[in-house]
Amino acid sequence: MSTVAETEAARRFSGWSRVRGWLTNPWGRPRFLVVVTWAYVLWAIVPVLIAVQFSFNATRSRTVWQGFSMRWYWGDPVDSVWHDPTLRHALVQSLKLASADVVIATPLGVLLAIGLARWQGWGARPSNFLMLFPLVTPEIVMGVSLLLVFTRVFTFVGTGTTAQILGHVTFSISYVVVIVRGRLFSIGRQYEEAAADLGASPAVALFRVLLPLLTPAIIAGAAVVFAISIDDFVISQWLSSGGATDTVPIQIYSATRAAPLPSTNAIASVMLLVTLLSLGLAFAAWRAFTRGERQTKAAEDLGVFEI
C-alpha cells in the first residue's frame, strides 16, 4: 500500500523535476523564454483566428460554433455583408479612403523625404521636426483638431469623405517619409554624384537614378499607407458625417457596442484579407525590385518604424 503511494509520488516528483530541469537548464537555450514567447504569439493571434472562424458560423451566435456556412458573407438575404447596404457601403467607403490616401500621401511623402534628406538650409530642421509630430500625436488630439478646423475654419470642407481623406493623408505622410528616408540613407549620394559627373542634370539624375533606386521603398510606403488607412478608426470616426461615410472599423465599433452578428466578424475578416493581400502583393513587388540586393531589410521596411 504505502510503497505504491511512494512510487506514485516519486514518479510524479520526477516528472515535475524533469519539467523544471528542462525549463531552467542553464546550458540549453533558455526554455523559460521559449515558453513565454510562444505563449505570447498564440495569445496574440489565436483570438483573431477564432473571430474569423465565427464569421463562418451557421447561426446568429458569435460564441457557440454550430457548423460552417457562408451565410454571413452572402448567404443571408438581409444581414450578410453582401446584402446589408450598411456593411457594403462601409466596405466601399474604406476602400475609397485607402485608395485616395495612397494616391495623395505617397507622392507627397516621397518628395518630402527626398527634400528633407538633401536640403541643408535653415528650414530643414524645423520641417523635419514637424514631420515627426504626426507620428507621436495621439489620434484623438488629431481628431479633435481636424474636426474643429473643418467645422469652424475651413467650413467649405465640413465633415464627410473629403475631410476623411484630408485627415488620412495628414497622418500617413510621415510614415512614407520615414520609410523612404531609411532607403535614401542606405543608398547614399554616390550614385547621384556619379550621374552628375557623367553630365546628368539634377532632374535627370533624379528620374533616371534616384527614383528607380527608391522604388522598393515607395512600394513599401504605399502598402503601409493603404494598411494604416484601412485600419484607421479614430480619424475616420471624428470626421465622419454619419451613415454613408462610416467605414468598416466604425461599423465594427458600433456593432460591437450594440448587438453584433457574425456578419460583423465577416466584414472584419474581409478587411483582414484585403490588408494581408495588399501587403503580400507589395512584398512580392518589393522582392522583384530588390533582387540581387541583400534580402534582410524586408521586415524592417514593412514593419518597423524607428522614430
Partner: protein, 295 residues
C-alpha cells in the same frame, strides 16, 4: 539659384500640407479652448493669443484637481496606463529578448508572427475579445468547465481588469518591435567581455544588456503610452460603463454627446501639454544616454 531652391522645393508640398492640416488645426483647438461661447454655447474661437480667455482651461484644471469631478477620471487614466505599460513590458521584454538573442532558425518566423498583429485592424482585435469574453464565450465556458468559476462572469460589464487586458492586447505589438530593435543592436562582444571577466549570465544581463536596452525600453514605453492616454474606444468597446472611462472618453463625450465643445477642446489642450512634457522627458533621456555613451 535653381540648385538652392531645388531641395526645399521638394519638401514644400509636404511641409505646406502639414502646416495647413496639422499645425493650423491644432492652433484652432487652442483658439477654441481659450475662446468664448455664444448664446447657444457654440464655441467662438479667439485667434489672437493676446485676447485669450483662460477660463475654460482653469475650470478643467479645477475639475481635474483632487476633489474635482474629473479627478477620478484622471487618476483612473494614469492607473490604467501605468498598469498596462508595466504588464506590456513584463510580457514584451522577454519576448523581444528571446527573438533577438536566442530564436536561431525560428527568428524570421517569430518576427513575422510578432509583426502580424500590426496589420490586423485594432477594432477587429477588440471584436475578437468581445466574442471570447461574452457570457457564453470561450473564456467563460473554459473557466466554468475547469471549475475556476461557479458560473459565467460578466467580463464585459465594466471591469477594470478587462479594460487593462484589452489595452495590453491592443498596444503590446508596438512595444515589442522597438524593444527587439534595441536588443538586436547590442554588440555581443560586450556580453562576451562581461562573461570572460567572470560575470554570471544573470549579472551580465543586469549590468550589460539591461542598461544598453534602456533607450529601447523608454522609447517603446513612450510610443505606447502616448496613444493609451488618448484612448477612448477600447474602454467603450470592452466595457462601456462610466466606472471604467478614461480621459479620452470625456473628450469624446463633449464632442459627440453634448454641446460643450469648448470644454472638450480645453481637455484636449491639457492632454496634449501633458503628453508633450512626457515626450520632452523622453528626448532629454535619450540625449543624456547618447552623451554618456560617447563619454
Amino acid at each position: 539659384v535653381y540648385r538652392r531652391w531645388l531641395w526645399p522645393g521638394f519638401a514644400l508640398p509636404g511641409v505646406v500640407w502639414l502646416i495647413v492640416l496639422f499645425v493650423v488645426p491644432f492652433y484652432a483647438v487652442l483658439a477654441v479652448a481659450f475662446g468664448t461661447v455664444d448664446l447657444l454655447s457654440q464655441p467662438v474661437p479667439v485667434w489672437n493669443p493676446l485676447e485669450w480667455n483662460v477660463g475654460w482651461v482653469v475650470e478643467v484644471l479645477h475639475r481635474l484637481a483632487p476633489g474635482g469631478t474629473f479627478s477620478g477620471l484622471a487618476v483612473r487614466t494614469i492607473e490604467y496606463v501605468a498598469i498596462s505599460l508595466a504588464l506590456s513590458l513584463a510580457i514584451g521584454y522577454p519576448v523581444a529578448y528571446y527573438i533577438a538573442r536566442h530564436a536561431g532558425r525560428t527568428k524570421n518566423l517569430l518576427l513575422i508572427l510578432v509583426i502580424l498583429p500590426f496589420w490586423i485592424s485594432y477594432l477587429m482585435r477588440m471584436l475578437a475579445w468581445v466574442n471570447l469574453l461574452a457570457p457564453d464565450g470561450y473564456v467563460n465556458r473554459f473557466l466554468v468547465f475547469t471549475h475556476v468559476l461557479g458560473q459565467p462572469r460578466d467580463w464585459l460589464g465594466g471591469r477594470a481588469s478587462t479594460v487593462i487586458l484589452a489595452l495590453v492586447y491592443g498596444y503590446i505589438p508596438y512595444l515589442i518591435l522597438p524593444l527587439y530593435a534595441a536588443l538586436d543592436r547590442i554588440d555581443r562582444s560586450h556580453l562576451e567581455a562581461a562573461r570572460d571577466l567572470g560575470a554570471s549570465p544573470f549579472s551580465a544581463f543586469l549590468h550589460v544588456t539591461l542598461p544598453l536596452s534602456k533607450v529601447g525600453i523608454l522609447g517603446g514605453a513612450v510610443l505606447i503610452a502616448l496613444p493609451m492616454f488618448g484612448d477612448y474606444y477600447t474602454p467603450n468597446i470592452v466595457s462601456g460603463a462610466p466606472q471604467t472611462s478614461m480621459i479620452g472618453n470625456q473628450i469624446d463625450l463633449y464632442f459627440h454627446g453634448g454641446p460643450q465643445q469648448t470644454l472638450g477642446a480645453a481637455i484636449t489642450v491639457l492632454l496634449a501639454a501633458f503628453l508633450t512634457a512626457l515626450m520632452a522627458y523622453y528626448m532629454w533621456t535619450i540625449h543624456r544616454a547618447s552623451r554618456d555613451l560617447q563619454a
